[in-house]
Amino acid sequence: MDEDLRIISRFRSGDIEAFSELVRKYQNGVYSFILRMVGSEADAQDLTQQVFIRAFKGLKGFRGKGLFRTWLFRIATNVYRSHSKNSPLFSNSGLDNVRQECFEEKVILKEQRQVLRRLISQLPYKQRLTLILKIYHELTFSEIAQVLDCSIGTVKANFHFALNRIREEWPRDEMQGSKDAHK
């Protein structure tokens, strides 16, 4: 039996600590996923809590057909979507500003990273989600299809269009500079 399913089974038998184990295991993944989507640490922390609260309430109904991780990312996606609908910060310009403010204090950004993050934030919603789930969380296309409730073909296309769009938008000198650096 899958390790997560064993923990869930313990939770269903009344072991509340089992849920804390799941939180410890997935908190970083959920948080970093949401942070990449929203760009604000405060929002990301709040939304991460909401994701786990929803997971807690829905865990008894989790049938284990797919992976728990996939199910959790699906909740995270829904939480992000309902939040972005209600928040005026999530216009394109707002997102850029928040994103820069958030990361400036944490790491010394290279110009390339700033450009990349801006380009990612400008991607259409499903392309952005697909890219983040694939690159940073290493979900398979099949798992991403479950999270987004679409076909694997759509995921493949979204991934291709996302990478290609960044390639096209990436400044030529940046691309050239990277090439030189790699030589």
């Binding site: 948080y31 944490k106 990273r113 990478l163």
Partner: protein, 159 residues
């Protein structure tokens, strides 16, 4: 394989999401196509740059399970207002209202009051020596007889 198909496949190839057959076909195509080689090189650069972009996590993430446990316990302690509890509450309230409605008898005094005999009595100065209860008792016993006894203090006229 055409260039268009090859370019579509390159992203999946980098993500390790191609079949053995697709991989072989793509590699065959790339060997003879400079344009697609250039495309692969550019996409790979984007792919690698994205991979390198890590974020640092806050140090207080460790407290999340505890914060969650506290919040969930608080929610559990709060009374829950589900639809079913709302409906059962409403049913109970309706039942109580029906019970009160049917058990209530509109007040009908068996005793006559001052207000009930305005056409008979006309009071000049109120009640000098006795209260309403006495007067009501008098009305029950017989108005005419009672008023004769206290003739001096009362004035009346028939309308």
């Amino acid at each position: 394989m055409r260039c268009k198909e090859a370019k579509m496949l390159i992203s999946n190839y980098l993500a390790n999401e191609v079949t053995t057959k697709e991989k072989r076909q793509l590699e065959d195509h790339l060997r003879g196509c400079e344009d697609c080689q250039k495309f692969l090189s550019e996409i790979k650069r984007v792919f690698d740059a994205l991979k390198e972009d890590t974020i640092s996590l806050p140090s207080d993430m460790g407290g999340l399970p505890e914060r969650l446990a506290y919040r969930l316990l608080k929610e559990e302690a709060r009374p829950k207002w589900s639809f079913s509890s709302f409906v059962s509450g409403l049913t109970l309230a309706t039942a109580i209202c029906i019970l009160i409605f049917f058990s209530f008898k509109p007040f009908k005094s068996t005793k006559p009051t001052i207000e009930s005999i305005p056409q008979v009595l006309y009071l000049e100065e109120g009640y000098p020596e006795f209260g309403t209860e006495d007067l009501e008792a008098a009305l029950v016993q017989g108005l005419e007889e009672y008023l004769e006894i206290y003739e001096g203090g009362w004035g009346y006229e028939e309308i």
